[in-house]
C-alpha cells in the first residue's frame, strides 16, 4: 500500500510562504513526478512528505494514517538524495544494512536482504568498498539499495540523476522505471528535467512558485496544457508563442504551436520568415526562424534531411488541429 494524501498543506520559512495551501492525491503504486523550474517548491514538497521539513499547517496522510507529526523514519518512506548521501565512513554493505540495523533486524535477515538488493543492483562485487571508491552510477545504486531494503510504502527521489553524466542518466532512468514496473510501489520523483518527467511518470505534477499548475499524465500535459506555463515547460524544444493579430484571428490572446507541428516549405505557406540558425541533430533539424512578424524567433522541428543556410527564406504552415489557444490570463481556451 502507499496512498499519500496532502490536504491544505502549507509551508513558510519565516515570513515567506513557499507553499501556499495545496491539495494532492498520490495513488498507491503510482509513479508521480514533481517537475518545475528551480525554486518552484518541488523539493520542499517532497521533504514535507518525507518529514524532513515540518508543515506550517495542513495534514499529510499515508494509507489513512495522519503522519503530519510523525518523525521521518516512522513514516515508512525511503528517500534517495541528489547527492546520494551515502555514509562515507561505512562500506557499501554497511550503508545498505544501516536502516535495518537501526530498525533492529537480525543480522541474518540483514545479510539476506543486503545480498538480494546487491544482486538486483549489480553491486555484489563492491560490497566491501567505501563510497569514495565507487563511480557516480554505482553510488546511485547503493543509495537505491539502501532504500529498497527497508521495503518502504513509498520511494522518494530528490533529483537523483542530476549528478550523473548524460549517458549514465539515460541508463539509470530506465533502471528506475523497470524497478517501478517490477515492484509496483508508490514512487515520488522530483526533477527539473521535463524529459525525465515525460519518460518516467504515470502522473506529472507541474509546480511553479509553490502552486500546482497542472496534474495529469504525460500525454495529457503535452496535448492539452492548461496554461501558458505548463505549455512552455513541457515539450522540447519549447512551444512557440504567438500574440497579436494572428492570435486575434483565432479568437485568442496567445497561440501556442509546438515546433514539431509546423510544416516547412520553400514555395508556399501561411507564414514567411528567414532562417537564422539551423541546428542539425542528425535525426532532426531545428530551424530558428526570424522576421516572421509573429514572434522574435519561431523554432521549427523538421526531419534531419532538410538543410537550410543562414538567410534562406522559408514558408511555414502550422497544423491547425494542434494549435493551442490561450486567453489574456494565460489560461487554455478549449
Amino acid at each position: 500500500m502507499g496512498r499519500i494524501l496532502l490536504e491544505n498543506v502549507t509551508k513558510s520559512f519565516g515570513d515567506a510562504q513557499v507553499i501556499p495551501p495545496l491539495d494532492l492525491v498520490i495513488d498507491d503504486g503510482e509513479f508521480t513526478v514533481f517537475v518545475g523550474p528551480s525554486g518552484c517548491g518541488k523539493s520542499t514538497l517532497l521533504r514535507l512528505i518525507a518529514g524532513l521539513e515540518e508543515t506550517s499547517s495542513g495534514t499529510i496522510t499515508i494509507d489513512g494514517l495522519d503522519v503530519t507529526q510523525v518523525p521521518p523514519s516512522k513514516r515508512g518512506l525511503a528517500m534517495v538524495f541528489q547527492s546520494y548521501a551515502l555514509y562515507p565512513h561505512m562500506t557499501v554493505r554497511k550503508n545498505i544494512a544501516f536502516p535495518m540495523r537501526m530498525a533492529g533486524l537480525s543480522q541474518a535477515e540483514q545479510d539476506k536482504r543486503v545480498m538480494t538488493a546487491a544482486k538486483s543492483l549489480n553491486l555484489v562485487d563492491y560490497l566491501d568498498r567505501k563510497p569514495g571508491q565507487l563511480s557516480g552510477g554505482q553510488r546511485q545504486r547503493v543509495a537505491i539499495g539502501r532504500a529498497i531494503v527497508r521495503d518502504p510504502t513509498a520511494f522518494l527521489f530528490d533529483e537523483p540523476l542530476s549528478n550523473l553524466d548524460a549517458a549514465l542518466r539515460v541508463g539509470m532512468r530506465l533502471e528506475i522505471s523497470e524497478m517501478h514496473k517490477r515492484m509496483q510501489t508508490t514512487m515520488i520523483y522530483v526533477t527539473h528535467d521535463q524529459v525525465e518527467a515525460m519518460t518516467m511518470a504515470d502522473k506529472i505534477v507541474v509546480l511553479q512558485a509553490g502552486v500546482i499548475e497542472q496534474v495529469g499524465s504525460p500525454l495529457e500535459l503535452y496535448r492539452s496544457p492548461c496554461n501558458l506555463f505548463v505549455a512552455g515547460f513541457i515539450g522540447s524544444p519549447k512551444m512557440n508563442f504567438i500574440t497579436g493579430t494572428e492570435a486575434a484571428n483565432r479568437h485568442a490572446h496567445t497561440l501556442g504551436v509546438r515546433p514539431e507541428h509546423i510544416a516547412v516549405s520553400t514555395q508556399t505557406g501561411a507564414w514567411t520568415g528567414r532562417v537564422s540558425v539551423s541546428e542539425h541533430l542528425g535525426s532532426d533539424t531545428f530551424l530558428h526562424v526570424h522576421e516572421t512578424g509573429l514572434a522574435d524567433t519561431l523554432t521549427v522541428r523538421t526531419n534531419g534531411e532538410i538543410s537550410f543556410k543562414h538567410g534562406d527564406i522559408i514558408h511555414l504552415t502550422p497544423r491547425e488541429e494542434m494549435v493551442h489557444r490561450f486567453d489574456a490570463a494565460g489560461l487554455r481556451i478549449s
Binding site: G51, E54, Q69, P71, P72
Partner: protein, 312 residues
C-alpha cells in the same frame, strides 16, 4: 512534541554554563564597584566586608578616573596593543608574501616560523627578558660588551686608532626600566603573534585567484601593481580578522607584563586591576567594569564582522 525539540535541547548545557560563568562574577564585580570594600583596614574595619551598607555610588569610579595610574594604564594598553598590531600585520604580510612561492625547504621554514606561537606566554617572557634582553647577561649585554671590547681593541690599532678613539662606549639598554619595559613586551608579543598573522595571510594568499593574476600580467601590471591592486585588497578581510582577534587577546595581556617589570610604570588595565585587587576591591571592580566596556566596544565590531562572513 516536534522531532526538533531534543536536538535543540542539546545546546542548553553549554548555554547554561556560559551564562553562569558570565553573569555571576560579572554581577559581583558590578556590585563591588558600587560599595566601599577593602581587604585590610585598621581604621575602618567595617569596610572589609562586602556589605550594602557601605554603598559608595559612583565613588569608586571617580576614584579610578582621578587616579593617574588609570590614565597611564589606558595609554599603556593602547600603546602596547596598537604597536603589536602594527608590527604583526606588517611583518605578517611581508613574510607571507616571501614564503608564498615554493622553494626548497618551504615546509621546514613554515614549521620554524610557526613555532613561537605555541610557546607559553610565561616562557616567552622569561626567555626574552632574561636570556636575550638582559643588559648584562643576556645576548644583548654580551653583544654590547663584545662590541665595546672590539672598539677598545681598535683604539690601539695603528692608523684607524685615532678615529675609533672618538667613539663612545655603547651602553646596553635595560628593558626592565619604566620607559623601556613596554618595548620589551611589544617585542616579545610581536615575536609570538607574527607567526599567527603569517599563517593566516599565507592561507589567504593561497586562495588568491591565479587567473586574475595572469590577466593582470597580460594587462601589463608589474609586481608592485599586482601586489597593490590585487593582493592587498584580497588580504583586507584576513587583515581585519588578525587585527580584531589580536585586539581581544592583547587587551587582556597579563603574564608578560607581570614577568617583565612587575608593572613598574608599565601597567595595562588588567595589571592595574590586579594591583588594586591586593587591597582596594571597590576600585579594582570599577576598573574591571571599565575594562569590560572597552572590550565590548572592540567586540562589537569584531562580532559584526565575523557574523557577516560566517552565516552565509
Amino acid at each position: 512534541m516536534s522531532n526538533r525539540t531534543l536536538p535543540r535541547l542539546l545546546q542548553t548545557p553549554a548555554v547554561l554554563l556560559l551564562l553562569i560563568w558570565m553573569l555571576i562574577p560579572l554581577s559581583m564585580t558590578l556590585y563591588f564597584s558600587f560599595i566601599r570594600y577593602v581587604l585590610n583596614s585598621l581604621r575602618r574595619p567595617e569596610w572589609t566586608k562586602p556589605s550594602i551598607s557601605n554603598w559608595r555610588g559612583f565613588g569608586n569610579y571617580e576614584f579610578v578616573l582621578n587616579n593617574k595610574d588609570f590614565i597611564l594604564a589606558i595609554q599603556n594598553s593602547l600603546l602596547i596593543v596598537c604597536s603589536i598590531l602594527f608590527f604583526t600585520v606588517i611583518f605578517g604580510i611581508l613574510i607571507a608574501v616571501l614564503i608564498n612561492k615554493s622553494f626548497p625547504g618551504r615546509g621546514v621554514v613554515r614549521v620554524l616560523l610557526i613555532s613561537p606561537f605555541f610557546v607559553m606566554p610565561a616562557v616567552n617572557a622569561v626567555l626574552w627578558i632574561n636570556m636575550i634582553l638582559d643588559p648584562v647577561l643576556g645576548l644583548q649585554g654580551l653583544a654590547v660588551g663584545g662590541l665595546n671590547d672590539a672598539i677598545e681593541g681598535l683604539r690601539n690599532a695603528p692608523l684607524v686608532g685615532g678615529f675609533f678613539s672618538l667613539w663612545p662606549d655603547f651602553a646596553p639598554i635595560s628593558f626592565r626600566a619604566t620607559q623601556t619595559s613596554a618595548i620589551a613586551v611589544i617585542i616579545m608579543v610581536t615575536w609570538q603573534w607574527t607567526p599567527f598573522a603569517v599563517l593566516i595571510f599565507m592561507t589567504s594568499l593561497q586562495s588568491e585567484d591565479q587567473q586574475q593574476k595572469e590577466a593582470a600580467i597580460l594587462d601589463g601590471a608589474g609586481a608592485w601593481s599586482q601586489f597593490r591592486f590585487l593582493t592587498l585588497p584580497h588580504l583586507s578581510r584576513p587583515i581585519a580578522i588578525v587585527v580584531m582577534i589580536q585586539a581581544i587577546f592583547h587587551l587582556s595581556l597579563y603574564a608578560e607584563i607581570e614577568i617583565v617589570s612587575r608593572g613598574n610604570g608599565n601597567k595595562n588595565l588588567p595589571y592595574l586591576i590586579g594591583e588594586f585587587a591586593n587591597n582596594n576591591i571597590g576600585a579594582a571592580s570599577a576598573t574591571g567594569i571599565f575594562a569590560v566596556i572597552l572590550a565590548n566596544i572592540v567586540a562589537f565590531f569584531l562580532l559584526r564582522m565575523i557574523g557577516k562572513t560566517l552565516m552565509e
